[in-house]
């Protein structure tokens, strides 16, 4: 089949979806959708359609990035407009089928908005305020196309860049990528074109292309969503990279904890092979290249590029000293290009729309867009893709919708265990590689976690350090022992055993670990501690000097207390839920916590009915009022 024929078939398939004669139901079933209950919704639609004998197709799609509104369902109806419904439950399905699929009521009260612009009150989704701040390149298809139907990708312009690339000189492709200013999205921001050029110029065969889909940051999931929602763009980017550097074999190293992404990528690879977009003599060009999936075995350090190559070789993934650079001697000692999932995904776009178009987006030194995983205390959690240079404030307030409830914003953690916590004053920092680094954070993995006044900065620093410390491979003693020392100090501080000189000691240790470690894990592990000290030193001091945790988080520094005047007396919720039987009832019916028994699990506070709200936390623990002796009679 020629590519024109492939395209024609793909268009026909795609048109049957959005312009077919039968209604079409798209259900987001990426991991986040599934967790929110998307699979029972799929089942409910299939059953309801069969029961009513309605002709309609149900397709599982990826994620449009609005995780907090999942399960999301798009109903495409011939001769009418497509509507997207949010937080869909199986119970809603009969209504949707009857009202909009069989009749003409689009149930706009259940909808997020329409997918096509229509006149009237209906909200047009791209015009939702958050989308106005977004700039979707990598996520343009996410949630709209079937990730395991290559036709959908092709019908939306997919693989034209590969066709174009195969007619170009490999050196010209590298030139174009260099000109675009694309920098790697795996964290460090190394210029992609330069990496490719170095590898292309190394006169050794064979060469390898590796895609880093290890995504080890414990709060990031962009790569997973890209692979679950539109995997072909990553494959196309890898094939172009291989052609540009002269590689014949490629690997996607993906964490085993992403079974759905692995499944969808596996199908996508097969489909690409079937159309001869991958494999021997691609599209008759004489160029051959194939991709193998290697499943990670769970170790954060494996995400480091030299470590990852050892993992593919079946060895322990411990980073090595450079040089030699991987582009000269990488996998099995051969020249290797290793890039992040998103880095490859930009490549087809750059070739089709041109380097100048790409470099027109973003800032002077950071081109294009950045994809962030928004999580934590935000109203809208999920994915966001914005032009580089967008400020953190826009990301958190305009797109993320600000902090949930009536709480106040305290800090944003960006870049995961290698990143930092930035306070309110830093929110006007533009998100680009260099500005974030100056602020003490990093672009890193792209995890953005918003914290409110209920989050303790010392505890947060401890959390990330605990992670890095566990994940240190142990090769460098500064990293292995230094992170442990820092963690011990933080544990002391959060337990009320801190000394004021510990703050300086932490800073000193941090500098030594940064200087003395071989890889990025050790070199960045102290960042969460350093930024919290830099911006929230007062919280450290409160823990150390007053033995007080201002956010009421650190267990050893808080106590639970039942306000006698608020306790309803008749209700027994707290008494029943307490796992250690620490709550007793006085003669007057007031509930009292025995502080010596209390395990501080917080259950009593959670079950105390909101209308009473009698359970509070106090810090320091000795601020609990002494129990009044009740007079009998």
């Amino acid at each position: 089949m020629t590519f024109e024929e492939i395209q024609k078939e793909a268009k026909a398939d795609w048109d049957s979806l959005y312009h077919g004669r039968a209604p079409h139901i798209l259900i987001g079933t990426a991991t986040c959708g599934r967790a929110a209950g998307a699979m029972p919704v799929v089942e409910a639609f299939n059953e309801e359609l069969a029961r009513r004998n309605v002709q309609a197709r149900v397709t599982e799609v990826g994620c449009i990035g609005l995780c907090s509104l999942e399960p999301l369902v798009i109903v495409v109806k011939p001769d009418s407009f497509a509507v997207c419904y949010h937080n869909v439950t199986p119970q809603m399905v009969p209504t949707l089928v009857e009202s909009y699929i069989q009749n003409d009521d689009p149930c706009l009260d259940l909808a997020l908005g329409t997918v096509e612009a229509v006149e009237g009150e209906a909200v047009y989704i791209p015009e939702l305020s958050r989308f106005e701040h977004e700039h979707r390149l990598l996520m343009r298809n996410c949630g709209y196309i079937d990730p395991v139907n290559v036709n959908h990708y092709i019908a939306n312009g997919g693989y034209t860049s590969l066709v174009k690339a195969l007619q170009m000189e490999p050196a010209a492709i590298v030139e174009e990528i260099k000109k675009s200013g694309l920098r790697g999205r795996g964290g460090a921001g190394f210029p992609t074109g330069r990496k490719w050029e170095l590898c292309r110029r190394t006169p050794v065969q064979p060469k390898y292309v590796i895609c880093n889909a290890d995504e080890g940051d414990p709060g990031a999931f962009m790569d997973r969503i890209v692979l679950e929602s539109d995997p072909q763009q990553v494959i196309e980017g890898m094939i172009i990279a291989a052609y540009a550097i002269g590689a014949t074999e490629g690997f996607v190293y993906i964490r085993a904890e992403y079974p759905l992404a692995i499944e969808r990528l596996t199908v996508a690879l097969e489909q690409a092979r079937r159309l001869n977009l991958l494999g021997d003599n691609i599209l008759g060009s004489g160029f051959s290249f194939d991709i193998e999936i290697v499943q990670g075995a769970g170790a954060f350090v494996t995400g480091e590029s030299t470590a990852l190559m050892y993992a593919i070789e079946g060895k322990r993934s411990m980073p090595r000293a450079r040089p030699p650079r991987s582009v000269k001697a990488g996998l099995w000692g051969k020249p290797t290009v290793l890039n992040n999932v998103k880095t490859y995904a930009y490549v087809p776009l750059i070739l089709s729309r041109g380097a100048d178009w790409f470099s027109g987006i973003g800032t002077e030194n950071s081109k294009g867009t950045a994809v962030f995983a928004l999580a934590g205390k935000l109203v809208n959690t999920g994915l966001a893709e914005v032009a580089m240079g967008t400020t953190l404030r826009q990301l958190i307030f305009d797109i993320g919708g600000g902090i949930r409830g009536s709480k106040k914003f305290k800090a944003v953690q960006i870049g995961g265990p290698s990143g930092g916590c930035l306070p309110e004053e830093m929110l006007d920092t533009p998100v680009d590689f260099d500005s974030l680094r100056r602020a003490g954070a990093i672009m890193g993995s792209g995890g953005v976690i918003a914290m409110d006044e209920d989050n303790c900065m010392v505890d947060t620093a401890k959390f990330f350090l605990d992670f890095s410390q566990r994940e240190s491979c142990g090769k460098c003693s500064t990293c292995r022992l230094g992170t442990k020392q820092m963690l011990d100090i933080l544990e002391d501080i959060t337990a009320g055993r801190g000394r004021i000189e510990d703050i300086d000691l932490l800073i000193e240790l941090a500098e030594d670990i940064k200087d003395g470690s071989l890889c990025g894990l050790g070199r960045t592990a102290p960042n969460p501690v350093l930024t919290t000290i830099r911006y929230f030193r007062d919280e450290y001091e409160a823990h150390i000097v007053e033995k007080r945790c201002p956010a009421l988080v650190c267990k050893e520094l808080i106590a639970y207390y039942i306000l006698p005047e608020k306790c309803e007396r008749g209700c027994e919720h707290c008494v029943l839920v307490c796992p250690v039987e620490a709550i007793s009832t006085t003669e007057k019916g007031i509930k009292v916590i025995d502080q010596a028994k209390c395990s501080k699990c917080g259950s009593c506070q959670l079950v105390c009915p909101p209308e009473y709200n009698a359970v509070i936390r106090l810090s320091p623990p000795d601020s609990v009022p002494a129990r009044r002796v009740e007079k009998s009679g």
Partner: protein, 160 residues
């Protein structure tokens, strides 16, 4: 024992006999048996003609590998960033208390095992607990007990 050897042989022979595939082999064996038994690791070393210490060295380096079986209901508590900030540690503590086992352990009746994982990718629903393939969103200590009861009505008693 015989059965194990045969099962292992099936897995091993289906794969290429190459040092490179050691990690993949360990993954396959673990998937089949639920964990890496001593016998299984020795068999792999024998099959690939590499020292047993190499197999152990790899298996103990990576977090994915476990050396005790999983329970019938494998419980995983998310300890990723979003879940931590939303109180994941309290959920873990409650789960460990209810099941009366520690992280990495299994109940005496082999019904429940307990592990911590880092971000299962549903941060919007934090904190989450995963049991088998099901994700339980927005967990709290009081919900832990309820959850265990619905999963296996007699579980609490059995576990104790």
């Amino acid at each position: 024992m015989e059965e194990l050897r045969k099962e292992l042989a099936d897995i091993l022979l289906a794969d290429r006999k190459d040092r490179r595939h050691l990690i993949a082999l360990l993954q396959k064996v673990q998937q089949k048996l639920g964990y890496l038994s001593r016998e299984a690791m020795l068999a792999i070393a024998d099959y690939l003609k590499i020292p047993e210490s190499t197999v152990y060295g790899i298996a103990t380096f990576y977090n994915q590998f476990r050396f005790v079986p999983l329970g019938k209901y494998p419980v995983k508590i998310c300890m990723g960033t979003a879940c931590h900030l939303a109180g994941g540690a309290l959920v873990l503590e409650a789960m460990a208390r209810e099941l009366d086992i520690e992280v990495g352990g299994i109940t005496p009746d082999h019904e429940f095992s307990l592990e911590r994982v880092a971000c299962v990718g549903c941060c919007a629903l934090a904190p989450v607990v995963v049991i088998g393939d099901t994700v339980y969103p927005r967990m709290t200590p009081p919900k832990v007990e309820e959850l265990l009861v619905t999963i296996k009505p007699a579980s609490k008693k059995a576990a104790k």
